[in-house]
């Protein structure tokens, strides 16, 4: 996997250097283990900055371009993700995690502006426009969900530095947003071939959203090559998905995983009881074979703008399996194997369909997945809806080198952390060790106006794990502030971890930033009774009225002897009645202080 990322990287860098060609697409298939397959689609469009500013749109879609120009957005990163990357068994993330977002929708952009307020206004415009374009609730990214990260994100454009050109970085995320086909369709519409031809023809909603993990990314940035040729604006669309091969191979018309007939069971015959109605299954770790059509529902429909300016066909599909593994093609495609012996790529002619078969014949080997630089898992501690704690376990698997990273968390305002309880300790040590957190940036929340922003610069020594914990209180909201499913809880956005290239760290390339995101959290809050407003207003007012009445009644009226006034009998009657009432009331309220009133 490491080789592959390097290969993709060099490919990427190659593209950076020459703005030409204007459009390029690449599908990279990576069997992770027998059970699952990682498919990364990458589409890259270019346009010269000048033509872009003159609104000459060709490969850069007009719809998006105009939005960006209107909102004065110089760089945009938009992410749609579902599921969870299982790095224990899938290894390091594709693209070093740069092309994925946290669960739901995540968006960050560099926006021009004269002031914070100005940039924020444009940011809101951008969100509203994008939410229309992608059928996502991006317009819900308001001031409580927007943050201005300090250390976590760097502009990917090579033309500007944010400070000088008064650009503002804003970041927002919607962990609750459910990503589905209505987001995929506009995504495909942005492509030159609209998903009709080329590798994009494989992107079918049913398959994509049945994946175990998937992430759609859009990055727009401006690039200026070192050789001084004219700057260009570059838009990159990426779709990564991890497919469960068994599940994907199930026919569309019969998706129910019924128990297979017992004669088809692969049993472990070595067991003493093998045979008599008992079958210890041994099928889980067999090699696996598939075809594109099986996995994606259809073969690739030709290619899309595959010729470069010299009429040369470019590779548009790569599969990363060892060369000894047998891969069959249908359709005339040009195969090139890389010298590392780990992958082969195919250039597909425009017109005719292309089918690829990873056969079950021959050695069933895979490239071994590469180890991720860091494992991060975050969870709540404690129970009850009054207070709790957040605990993040950060494990550095590398045996040789320590690792340094930025830990970025944004919390909703109704989750009130206590920063003085923030501690980081090695799992081996029992006490907190102060030198782990090197730098802290903390912006406390303001009720109903701003969320908490926490950025920590953390370093974890080699071959050790750090536990990061802090306590928080759960606020109780006004009853109008709860969502309809109040008892489900509120989603807390995933933490973003940016690994910093540290000296002598062989695994991380100093050019490429590496990102990791934790899973999101579900925060249960105490809920009031939503059916009660009138009762509460009435009851509370009654109590206050009682007290007020009692006290002012005493203050304003004057005393006389009981036997000095008329109408005693009448009063006595009333008294009896009132007394009875009081008796009933007290009996009902289960306190039984009835006779209390007779106390001397």
């Amino acid at each position: 996997m490491k080789h592959i990322s390097c290969l993709l990287l060099s490919l990427l860098l190659g593209l950076l250097v020459s703005a030409d060609p204007k459009y390029k697409e690449l599908l990279n298939l990576q069997p992770l283990n027998p059970a699952s397959l990682l498919a990364s689609f990458n589409f890259k469009s270019n346009a010269s900055l000048q033509s872009y500013e003159q609104q000459h749109f060709k490969y850069i879609p007009r719809s998006l371009g105009q939005i960006l120009q209107h909102a004065k957005t110089r760089e945009l990163h938009l992410r749609f993700s579902t599921g969870r990357w299982d790095d224990e068994s899938w290894g390091a993330r594709p693209w070093g995690g740069t092309k994925e977002g946290g669960t739901g929708v995540e968006l960050w952009a560099w926006v021009e502006g004269d002031s914070d307020a100005d940039s924020f206004a444009r940011w809101v415009t951008l969100n509203n426009a994008l939410s229309g374009l992608f059928c996502a609730s991006l317009n819900f990214i308001d001031s409580t969900r927007s943050t201005r990260p300090r250390m976590t994100f760097e502009p990917a454009s090579s033309v500007f530095n944010a400070s000088s050109e008064n650009l503002y970085l804003l970041h927002g995320s919607l962990p609750r947003e459910v990503v589905c086909t209505e987001n995929l369709t506009p995504f495909l519409k942005l492509l030159p071939c609209k998903g009709k031809a080329g590798i994009a023809s494989l992107l079918d909603g049913h398959k994509l959203f049945d994946a175990s993990w998937q992430s759609m990314a859009i990055d727009v940035r401006s690039v200026c090559p070192e050789n001084g040729s004219e700057c260009s604006i570059e838009m990159e669309q990426t779709v990564d998905m991890v497919l469960d091969v068994d599940r994907s191979k199930r026919p569309r018309d019969n998706p129910i995983p019924r128990p297979i007939p017992s004669e088809h069971l692969q049993c472990d015959q070595s067991k003493p009881y093998a045979g008599d109605e008992a079958c210890y299954p041994s099928d889980a770790n067999l090699g696996q074979s598939w075809t594109l059509a099986e996995i994606f529902g259809r073969p690739i429909q030709g290619s899309c703008l595959a010729e470069d300016s010299y009429g040369q066909l470019r590779d548009s599909v790569c599969i990363n399996v060892p060369h000894e593994r047998e891969v069959n093609l249908y359709g005339d495609a040009v195969e090139t194997k890389n010298e590392a012996g780990t992958s082969r790529c195919f250039a597909i002619p425009a017109s005719n369909p292309f089918e690829l078969v990873l056969s079950h014949i021959g050695p069933q080997t895979f490239n071994k997945v590469s180890q991720p630089p860091l494992y991060a898992s975050r969870s709540f501690t404690g129970h009850g809806q009054e207070r709790g704690g957040v605990q993040t376990l950060l494990t550095n698997p590398s045996t040789s080198s320590s690792i340094q990273f930025v830990y970025f968390e944004t919390l909703p305002w109704f989750m009130k952390p206590y920063l003085h309880t923030l501690t980081a300790r090695l799992t081996t040590a029992s006490t907190t060790s102060p030198d782990i957190i090197e730098e802290t940036f903390y912006r406390p929340a303001l009720d109903r106006r701003r969320g908490t922003q926490l950025e920590l610069l953390i370093s974890v020594p080699a071959d050790s794990a750090v536990i990061l914990t802090y306590d928080f209180d759960k606020a109780i909201l006004r009853y109008t502030e709860y969502p309809p499913d109040a008892n489900r809880g509120f989603d807390v956005a995933p933490a973003v971890i940016r690994l910093l290239p540290s000296s002598g760290n062989s695994s991380s390339n100093s050019q490429a930033p590496l990102y990791i995101r934790t899973s999101s959290l579900l925060l249960p809050l105490p809920t009031p009774d939503f059916s009660m407003p009138y009762n509460v207003i009435i009851l509370t007012s009654t109590v206050m009225a009682l007290a007020f009445g009692m006290i002012f009644n005493l203050l304003v009226r004057r005393f006389v002897g009981a036997d000095e006034v008329e109408g005693w009998n009448l009063a006595a009657l009333k008294a009896k009645a009132r007394g009875r009432v009081a008796v009933l009331v007290d009996r009902v309220s289960g306190k039984g202080q009835k006779l209390e009133k007779t106390v001397q």
Partner: protein
Amino acid sequence: MVIDRRKAILFSSAAALRFILFFAFPSLPDLLTGRVEISTPVTSFKRLQEGLFLYTHNAPLLLPLFALVPPSLFSPLTALLYILLDLLCANALIKITESGESGSSRLFTSPRKDMKWDSIAVAAAYLFNPFTIATCIGRPTSVFTNCAILYAITQAVSGKPITSMLTLGLASYLSLYPALLLPPLILLCYDRKARDTKTPPAATFSTATFVSVFSASIAWFLYLSKVLTGGSSEYLASTYGVHLLLPDLTPNVGLWWYFFIEMFDSFREFFLGVFWLHLGGYVGALCIRLRTQPLFVITTLLGIFAIFKPYPSISDTSLYFAMLPLYRHIFPLMRYTFFAMATILYATLLGPAFYYLWIYAGSGNANFFYAITLVWSLGLSEIVADSLFAVLRDEWEVERPEMKGKDIRQI
């Protein structure tokens, strides 16, 4: 001399009890700090620590006080501090009792005034009140306010109006609502002064001086904290704004939180105004009707605050229960003591139980705890009204001695 020995015994035993609770049960302080009945958003010790950490929350003047403490000694020293505060309060109570103001003020002397408890008994009633002890262990910042209020009264009854005003200024600076105690306290100071100097000084003039001193002290404290926070006025919103506008709806023993959770947004401001008006409404009426006994006006107001202020806690209740024994002599005239006490006992036990059912077990809902806060408030207001009745009747019997023990009615 005897008094001193008894006082020493009392204080040492009270301190010892608190020390035991602090250090023999290490988990107890944090447990109580977390209880909503004890710490409210504006007084929580945990938020104070956070404030130390961030220098935002809470009235800033407190922060340096704690910031001086080295972190290693933090918890024992705070424990010590809070124990000392309790003893100071007790000391203040002793002074107030010995001044005899409760029995006989300048304009009124109760026929029952000899029936009072001696100062040690009053102090003991305060120091061994479970509410006081729980408050001390829970370490809310309201203890500072309570102490300041008690000292303001002490200074007043011992004829030091200026210092009294300064202390009240501190109290109001710490948590706003004590400012409502200004009118009765002015009366008290004036009475004391008038009693000491045979010729009563000009009312308007002295009032003016008191008010100006009070406002000057507040201004001074605000300026000081402005300087301490580096010239920012952020803290004003984050401290007094919380009192006034109730943005934080964390449950407590009061009536405000659930009311404003369930309130319709369009009426929120209106009812905030109404609630504050209601709270302030008692001051004038009591001052006028009980002109002769300003100290009792203060006591009753403290009771009313404990029920109706925005973020009440049992520490306010303990303050009220600390002042009440001063009026031992009117207890026989109270009619519903047992009833009210039983109500409060019920609420004290049922409150935590229902809170547990709502928040932790999840088997009850918010109404459980809310109902108990209603009962609690009713019980307290019962005591307030009943003591008020007793005092009024006490006054009445001065002019109608023949009516002693007779049933009476109000018209």
